[in-house]
Structures are given as structure tokens and as C-alpha cells.
């Protein structure tokens, strides 16, 4: 029974989201007791920040200029993040569903209800009928603990995480091409590049701090190529904009590689010495003439040649990309097609030469390394690899036969709930009702659950449907580590303890593990002990943290993995000397024929629908929709539409329009702008209910990575 326990109005009154303003807090502006050097809780830059603490509350911030990644710089989310603390919506007690809504309860009763439900469901339907969903905004310690909890305490194969919605296609592509899943370079390499391709990455709004690195490259003479159906702030002054038609990225990348070959701009020596598989790719892209690619992608042949010239002639160059090319049913193919450009020109493994994916979530990198993915074990190990299974089983002290196999991915778990195969779900730091595509179906699926438990600090839209809500911790209420988008593991300090009766997340997971009869596997006294186990188990694994300690991370302002011993300096730049992580030390080319998105435009739905972020909001908005001044900056979703299309529809700026896809519709004010392709509309996705862009998006999955196709589907727009 996961319908709402009471009316939406009562839930809103009791739990929000209500925008809070710091000036209303009596402690606001008072002299702090201490300043805690820690990091922002939002995106994958993980900016250093100092939090002002008084009376066990965070009351403000001060820039931390010594931290090398951001040097005091912050975006509006980081500046206002402290407002989530001491918030009227904060969950202070465990909640249990009553007849007329949520009722505060004791931890004992909440745990009892949860473990009873787990045991009943599993004894009736089997172990895998209970699933676990984790998140990539949590620390490495929690990501590790989630995996261990699901495999040992729940014994379920079905654990996955919201990173599945984020950059798994890039991760899978990295492993296929390079044999390892990490950005190839530290961001300090960006200013050394003489050409940059920014493919499907709205850096100015989603990763604002990296803007300065890009502009410093430009000061140094770098030419900037931006590939995006919209002119975003980072694209506004680009040297070249390739306004690609949504869903055509692999064709465009093939076209650029074709032009590089025709212009004789490849590094044939590098290809011969350090790569395999180029012949097939060369044969494949022979057909991708700029004329043909112009036809497919909407990018002019002249621009395709210009992009090849800029990239190919530059002595150094870097490729950065994000969800724009990754959120596709061919996400892995798109990324590999772009990586081919990097490998074909040998622009990797040197200062100013390389590759990186812009990780959207706070721990987008670390969250995908330590075993909370359905196909992965700690240390980035493969759950289907017999040797890896043996190593982890031995370390944990369990028989290998008891270690579950590969389970379902996040969207597939929701599908399996809808199909009645999964009956119970425990979710932490994940708001699938807002963040998974086709939210009308997600809601129906949640209604079919026999038990939904949520660990959260605010009552997210998903937690509103829960049977039990376990009041967990905000980032500043716990300690641990995260790994940012360049692969630098950094230390988060605890600023305050959780308010009221709330507990730190790792304690909740360990308590549940103990109550499920697995005491000895969850006997951790603090996050430091979890980190020690995490680093220990990672020794000699694909993702090796074994030389790291909290002390080193603090003293050295973070360490890049692999870091295999206590005196190892870490590895900021990968692939130096052309040595890749495959057994033969060579990188691999993979070429793909272009194929259309799962749902393309047609006569009934003639426009492309695409989604993304705005700078003042973060993911499903559970935190940022509660921070008043961030809400005011961009209060509700707008539909960006080109004036040519707006005129055709008789729509003017700020007028409401109805956007309709085969899955749902929403009414949203138009923002009439020339900064978007006329055949495309864009709506940001941070809102819930009737304002949720994911009512419209398509839950079609990439066959390899199972990332859904957020970035393209077909819609029509009507004047209201």
C-alpha cells in the first residue's frame, strides 16, 4: 500500500516543500562558534566551503579559498545550501503510516515494522522481491555500506542507485574504451588545452565552477566548440556552436572523425602503438560524409569540417561531455563515438590532452565505484567475474554462493514493481517519483508495493508514499568522503549532529543489518571504520583506494585514485605514455552506425522534447525547492521555445502552453527565446506533480548501460 496516506494538502502543510529564508532564523547573522572546512553537498565539483556553526546549527558560510579545486568560488546553490539546515520541513523523528497520515514513532517501532516487512515479503516471494535503491549524492562510505547491506542483510540481487539516471552510459563507455571508469585528467589540465569540445554539457549552469577553467583556456588561445541544441551560457561566446538535432550525436561524432580522416589530421602513430580496432571504425565512418551528417544532425557540413580542423590542428585538446550525449538509448554509442575522436588524434594522457565526463551528482564518481550498482562489487569489481566474487566474499567472510548475482537496474526495478515482481522497496537519497522518466507510471508502480521504506531528511515526493520513513541525515550532519568529477577523493567533515531524533544514515543501515541477524557484518562505530574497510577491500581492485586515509585526504586536499599504497601520491592524470587499463595496455575503438532515438518526431508529435537543469536547482529538488532564495531565482519550470515556432502556434512569451507526449502532458509558461533550435522545446526537470517534466519523458533504456532517454522524445505543443 503505497498510496498517499493523507491528502496532498495536509502533506504540504506538514512536510513541505516550503521555501525557507535565512533571515527568519533567530541565529542568522550571529557570531559562529566555529567554521568547519568541508564541501558543498550538491554537484560533482564538490567545492570547498566553510560552514558557520553555532549551537549545533549551520547558520551561514564563508568561502574556503585554499581548497585548490574552487579556490573560494561557489555557485548560488553552494552559497544558500546552509538554509536547508534548521529547516521547518526537516524530519526529526521516524514516521509510520497511520490511518490519517504519518505518525511520529520510536526508532524501535520503525525498525520493527521495516524488518518485519522485509522478512515477510522475502519469505513469501523470495529474496529478490525486496529491492534497494541508493543514491550518488551520498558518501563513498554509504555507497559501500548500501551494497554490503543489500547483498548480506537483504540477500537481494536487486540493488541499484540513481546514478543509473545520470552518467552510467559514460561509465560503461569509459570501461569499454579505456578499461577504467574515471575522468582521464585533473581539471587543472583544462587551461592547457588549445581546443575544447564541450558536448552536451551546460557547464555554466550545472557545473558552474568549471567555467573559470574553460575561460582560462580561452585566455590561452583555446578554441571552444560547443555541441548543444541550445545556446547555453558556456556556448554564448564559443568559437563554434554545433546546434545538433536531439538524438543525433553519434552521427555527428562520426562525421567529425570522417572529416579528421579526410583532412589527414589523425595521429596514425598513436593509433598504431596504443590502440586497437581503428580499421573497422575508419571503414564505418567512411560513409559519414559531412553532407550525409548534415542531413541527419542538422549541423552544417562547413561547421563539421571546421570542428575537425580546430580539434585536429590544435597541439593539445580535451573533450568534456555530460548528459546531453549520455541520456540516450544509444548513450554508450554516443560517448564511444566521441572518444574515437580523442583516440584517433592521440590527444590523451598528456598535459592539456584528454577526456572527462561532467558528473552531475555530488558523488557521481565515488557513488558508482563502491558496490551499490546492480552489476558491481566494491573496488569497481564486476559482480559476474568469478575472481572478483571470490575476493569480495572472502573479505566479507561469506560463502561465494551466498553472494547474490547481477540484479535489475533502477528503471528496471520500477518496471518490475509495476509488473508485480518486486513487492518491497527500501530507498535512500533517491526520489524516483520525480527523477525517473514517465512519472505517471512510476506513481502507479509505487501504489503496487506492499511495503515502501524511505530513509530521508525531508519528506520527498517518493517518501510521501512510504509506509515507514526513517529520519536520516543531511550531508553536514555526517562525515565521510566523496570523489569528485576529476577522480579526486576528498574529505567531508561533520559540522553538526542530526537534529531531534534523526540519525546518521550509516547508523540506520547498520541498525537494520543487525536487526536482520547480520550483526558481525555491520558492527561499525563510525564512518572512519567503514572507510578503512572500503579502502582495504579495494586493494588491487580496478578502483584502488587502498593508500588513502582520512588524514591524508585532509592534509593533501584530496587524492586521485588509483592510490595503491600509503606513500603513493595518487594519480591525477591517467594514461600517461599511452598506457591504458586493458590487459594489453591499449585503448579500444568502437564504431557504431547512427540509429534513431527510441521515439522520433512524426506528424502527430512534430517537436523534439528535451530536459535539463537550471543553475539554482539540483536534481529532483528535494533540497533546493526548500531554499527560498533559490526558489525565487527560478520559481517554476518554463518551456523554452523558439520565436519561429511560437509564432506558428500563436504563442507569446510567458503565455501558458500545453506540452504533450504519448505519456503525459503539462501546462507550462512559454519562454520564447532564439537560443534554442526551432524544432526543439526544453523544460527543466526539478519539479514534482503537475510541474514534473518527467511526466512527458520516455523510459526507453540504453541496451548496455540502461540509462533512460531523458534527452529526446517527441512532443507537440499547443496554445492553452
Amino acid at each position: 500500500m503505497a498510496t498517499l496516506p493523507t491528502t496532498a494538502e495536509i502533506l504540504l502543510k506538514d512536510f513541505g516543500p516550503r521555501p525557507a529564508y535565512p533571515a527568519l532564523d533567530p541565529l542568522y547573522g550571529q557570531t559562529p562558534d566555529k567554521l568547519v572546512k568541508t564541501h558543498c553537498c550538491f554537484c560533482g565539483v564538490q567545492c570547498g566551503i566553510q560552514l558557520k556553526v553555532k549551537n549545533n546549527q549551520v547558520i551561514g558560510f564563508e568561502p574556503w579559498e585554499e581548497f585548490p579545486v574552487n579556490k573560494g568560488k561557489l555557485c548560488p546553490k553552494g552559497i544558500k545550501r546552509y538554509v536547508q539546515n534548521n529547516h521547518p520541513d526537516r524530519l526529526l523523528h521516524p514516521l509510520i503510516r497511520g490511518e490519517h497520515g504519518f505518525v511520529e514513532t520510536s526508532w524501535d517501532k520503525a525498525y520493527e515494522r521495516t524488518t518485519t516487512a522485509i522478512q515477510e515479503i522475502q519469505s513469501k516471494y523470495g529474496k529478490d522481491a525486496f529491492a534497494f535503491l541508493g543514491g550518488a549524492s551520498m558518501t563513498n562510505e554509504k555507497a559501500y555500506l548500501n551494497g554490503k547491506f543489500a547483498r548480506i542483510a537483504l540477500g537481494t540481487a536487486n540493488i541499484d542507485y540513481n546514478g543509473r539516471l545520470c552518467m552510467v552510459s559514460a561509465g560503461a563507455a569509459n570501461k569499454m574504451a579505456f578499461g577504467v571508469d574515471r575522468a582521464a585528467n585533473p581539471w587543472s589540465d583544462i587551461p592547457l588545452a588549445k581546443a575544447l569540445i564541450l558536448a552536451g554539457t551546460n557547464i555554466g549552469e550545472c557545473f558552474p565552477i568549471l567555467t573559470d577553467y574553460i575561460w582560462r583556456a580561452r585566455d590561452n588561445g583555446a578554441k571552444i566548440i560547443v555541441i548543444d541544441p541550445r545556446i547555453t551560457p558556456i556556448g554564448r561566446t564559443a568559437d563554434l556552436i554545433l546546434p545538433v538535432k536531439p538524438g543525433r550525436d553519434s552521427a555527428l561524432a562520426n562525421g567529425i572523425l570522417h572529416a579528421l580522416i579526410k583532412e589527414d589530421l589523425l595521429d596514425r602513430d598513436f593509433i598504431a602503438r596504443h590502440t586497437t580496432g581503428f580499421d573497422k571504425v575508419e571503414e564505418l565512418v567512411e560513409n559519414y560524409t559531412p553532407e550525409k551528417v548534415e542531413e541527419i544532425s542538422g549541423v552544417s557540413r562547413k561547421s563539421i569540417y571546421r570542428a575537425a580542423e580546430i580539434w585536429g590542428e590544435a597541439p593539445t585538446a580535451m573533450l568534456l561531455h555530460a548528459r546531453g550525449i549520455e541520456h540516450h538509448t544509444k548513450g554508450v554509442e554516443n560517448v564511444l563515438s566521441y572518444i574515437n575522436i580523442v583516440l584517433g588524434t592521440g590527444k590523451i594522457g598528456r598535459p592539456g590532452c584528454g577526456y572527462g565526463t561532467i558528473t552531475g551528482q555530488g558523488n557521481g564518481q565515488g557513488g558508482r565505484e563502491h558496490g551499490q550498482r546492480c552489476n558491481q562489487l566494491p573496488g569497481g569489481r564486476d559482480i559476474n567475474h568469478p575472481g572478483h566474487r571470490q575476493e569480495v566474499s572472502e573479505y566479507w567472510g561469506i560463502p561465494e554462493a551466498e553472494l547474490p548475482g547481477q540484479g535489475l537496474t533502477a528503471c528496471e526495478i520500477i518496471d518490475a514493481i509495476e509488473a508485480g515482481k518486486i513487492k518491497g522497496l527500501l530507498s535512500i537519497s533517491f526520489n524516483p517519483l520525480v527523477s525517473i522518466p514517465d512519472s505517471n507510471r512510476t506513481k502507479k508502480a509505487l501504489d503496487k508495493l506492499e511495503f515502501l521504506g524511505c530513509i530521508d531528511f525531508f519528506l520527498s515526493e517518493t517518501a510521501q508514499h512510504a509506509d515507514v520513513v526513517l529520519a536520516g541525515s543531511l550531508q553536514e550532519e555526517d562525515e565521510g568522503t566523496v570523489t569528485n568529477g576529476e577522480g579526486r577523493c576528498i574529505r567531508l567533515k561533520q559540522s553538526i549532529t542530526p537534529p531531534g531524533n534523526a540519525k546518521v544514515d550509516w547508523q540506520i543501515i547498520c541498525d537494520l543489518g543487525k536487526r536482520l541477524g547480520k550483526e558481525k557484518y555491520f558492527d561499525f562505530k563510525n564512518p572512519g571504520e567503514i572507510f578503512t574497510e572500503l579502502t582495504g577491500i579495494s586493494a588491487n581492485a580496478p578502483v584502488d583506494y587502498s593508500g588513502m586515509s582520512y588524514e591524508r585526504l585532509e592534509k593533501e586536499m584530496g587524492l586521485f585514485w588509483p592510490c595503491p599504497s600509503p606513500n603513493h601520491p595518487g594519480t591525477p592524470r591517467l594514461f600517461e605514455g599511452g598506457k591504458f587499463f586493458h590487459p594489453d595496455q591499449k585503448a579500444k575503438f568502437f564504431g557504431y552506425e547512427y540509429r534513431a532515438p527510441a521515439e522520433d518526431v512524426d506528424a502527430d508529435y512534430p517537436l523534439f522534447f528535451t530536459t535539463g537543469r537550471v543553475v539554482s536547482q539540483y536534481l529532483s529538488g528535494t533540497q533546493t525547492r526548500r531554499i527560498g532564495e533559490l526558489v525565487d531565482q527560478y520559481p517554476e519550470p518554463l518551456c523554452e521555445i523558439h520565436p519561429l515556432m511560437a509564432a506558428k502556434l500563436g504563442v507569446k512569451d510567458k503565455m501558458p502552453v500545453r506540452v504533450i507526449t504519448r505519456r503525459g502532458e503539462m501546462v507550462v509558461p512559454a519562454q520564447v527565446v532564439t537560443t534554442i533550435r526551432p524544432d526543439t522545446v526544453f523544460v527543466p526537470y526539478h519539479w514534482a506533480g503537475k510541474k514534473a517534466a518527467n511526466q512527458l519523458t520516455n523510459r526507453a533504456l540504453d541496451p548496455i548501460s540502461k540509462i533512460p532517454e531523458f534527452k529526446v522524445c517527441a512532443c507537440r505543443v499547443e496554445k492553452v
Binding site: G72, L74, P186, E205, V615
Partner: protein, 226 residues
């Protein structure tokens, strides 16, 4: 030894409002940002521009103040009106060529950016220039700007016949001696039309000035790791 100065470069601005949000955190004017972030014309561009007080050498706001409430300190910083003196007449709001001072109704006091006097007076940077993710607001050594930026700092502006020199610099195209705030441009007149009505673009940089410039070396930070 070169001086620490404030440089604004709207070409780097990404419109994120970190400056606005951070300014509103200041303990002297809580909840009321003094920096403005101007959207040029969202319909046609994502261009935005941050506007701080330019701290004129001979501040127009002070000259038009009938109550002598606006003071400039020894460092050239022009301060918010003195509360006992300000009569809330809004002369300064109307007269400032950059549109900086505001007169919030509830306070009946002219308020404006004082370049974070509380921070700069103890050796810190202004808050907006500390947090700005794009370097559109930069407070630091002028030698850094000379060495690493291709644009040039300009602190002379003409508004019709009024020539204004400011403490804060604006980054402009190379070889730009001063920035002309030209009504012809603001009103949408292009070259020939503008000249026909007597406006000239003599100080506007030609595109070609960029071509002859050497590129600067990269502003590489010292790597902490390794």
C-alpha cells in the same frame, strides 16, 4: 609591486547569480543584495552582466546629494549614504550613470555596493569577486590581468559629454581607450544611421585587433596533488 584592483568582464558572465546570492549574505545589509545582475534580453541571448558600484573618482551621486550624505574614503571607495543625513530624495539614484544606488522604500536610505568594506578593509576580497565561478568579477593583482587576460582594463567612460573615471575597471576589447556609452547603440542605430544623426563610433574596437595579439600563457595553478 602592482596594485590590487577590481575588474569586471561581462563576457565571462554566466548569469548564475552567485554574486547576488552571496552579496545578500553580507552582515551589513542582510537579505538585500547590492550587486545587480542585468539580463540583456533573454529573448535573444543568455548574456547577462553583473553591475557593482564603479566607485567614481569624482562621484556623481555625491555631487547631486543635497544632504552631503555620500562620502568617499581615502581608498576611493564611495559608501552607502550616511543614515542620519540621507533624506531619501533619490537624486543619486537618478543621477548615477551606471544605475547603481537603490532606494529601498522600507528603509528610506540610499543603499549601494561599498566593495565589501568589511572584507576589503581586513585584506579579503569582496564577496562577489570571491565566489564568482566564471571570473567575470575578479579582485586581485593587476599584473595577473596584464599577464593572463587578452582583454584590457578600462576605467574611463563617456556618457555624452560627461567623462567618468572609476576605481573599478571594466574589461574591454584590446586598444579600447575608453568605453563610450553611446545612445545610438542603445537605441539600435547602426553605423550609417548613427553617423547621420551625429553619433560616432571612433573608439569602438575593430574585430581585427584580436588577430594581431599574441595569446597569453595559461594561468596554471600550482598543483597541490603530486
Amino acid at each position: 609591486m602592482s596594485a590590487t584592483q577590481f575588474f569586471i568582464d561581462a563576457s565571462r558572465c554566466i548569469g548564475c547569480k552567485a554574486c547576488v546570492q552571496a552579496c545578500g549574505e553580507c552582515e551589513t545589509h542582510r537579505g538585500m543584495p547590492m550587486i545587480h545582475l542585468e539580463e540583456m534580453d533573454r529573448g535573444s541571448t543568455v548574456q547577462t552582466a553583473p553591475v557593482v558600484c564603479m566607485h567614481c573618482e569624482d562621484p556623481t551621486c555625491a555631487k547631486v546629494c543635497p544632504a552631503d550624505a555620500i562620502k568617499q574614503d581615502a581608498l576611493g571607495v564611495v559608501h552607502t549614504a550616511s543614515k542620519p543625513r540621507c533624506v531619501a530624495c533619490s537624486n543619486c539614484v537618478l543621477a548615477c550613470p551606471f544605475g547603481v544606488p537603490k532606494m529601498p522604500g522600507k528603509f528610506e536610505l540610499m543603499m549601494k555596493c561599498d566593495m565589501c568594506y568589511d572584507r576589503t578593509s581586513v585584506g579579503k576580497k569582496p564577496m562577489c569577486a570571491t565566489v564568482c565561478p566564471s571570473g567575470a568579477l575578479y579582485f586581485g593583482d593587476e599584473s595577473y590581468i596584464a599577464e593572463f587576460r587578452r582583454e584590457v582594463p578600462v576605467n574611463t567612460f563617456s556618457f555624452g559629454k560627461q567623462i567618468v573615471k572609476t576605481k573599478v575597471f571594466m574589461m574591454a576589447a584590446p586598444l579600447t581607450p575608453r568605453i563610450n556609452v553611446d545612445m545610438a547603440v542603445l537605441c539600435g542605430f547602426q553605423n550609417e544611421k548613427a553617423e547621420a544623426i551625429g553619433f560616432h563610433h571612433q573608439d569602438m574596437a575593430e574585430e581585427s585587433v584580436w588577430n594581431d595579439l599574441p595569446f597569453r600563457k595559461p594561468a596554471r595553478e600550482k598543483e597541490v596533488v603530486s
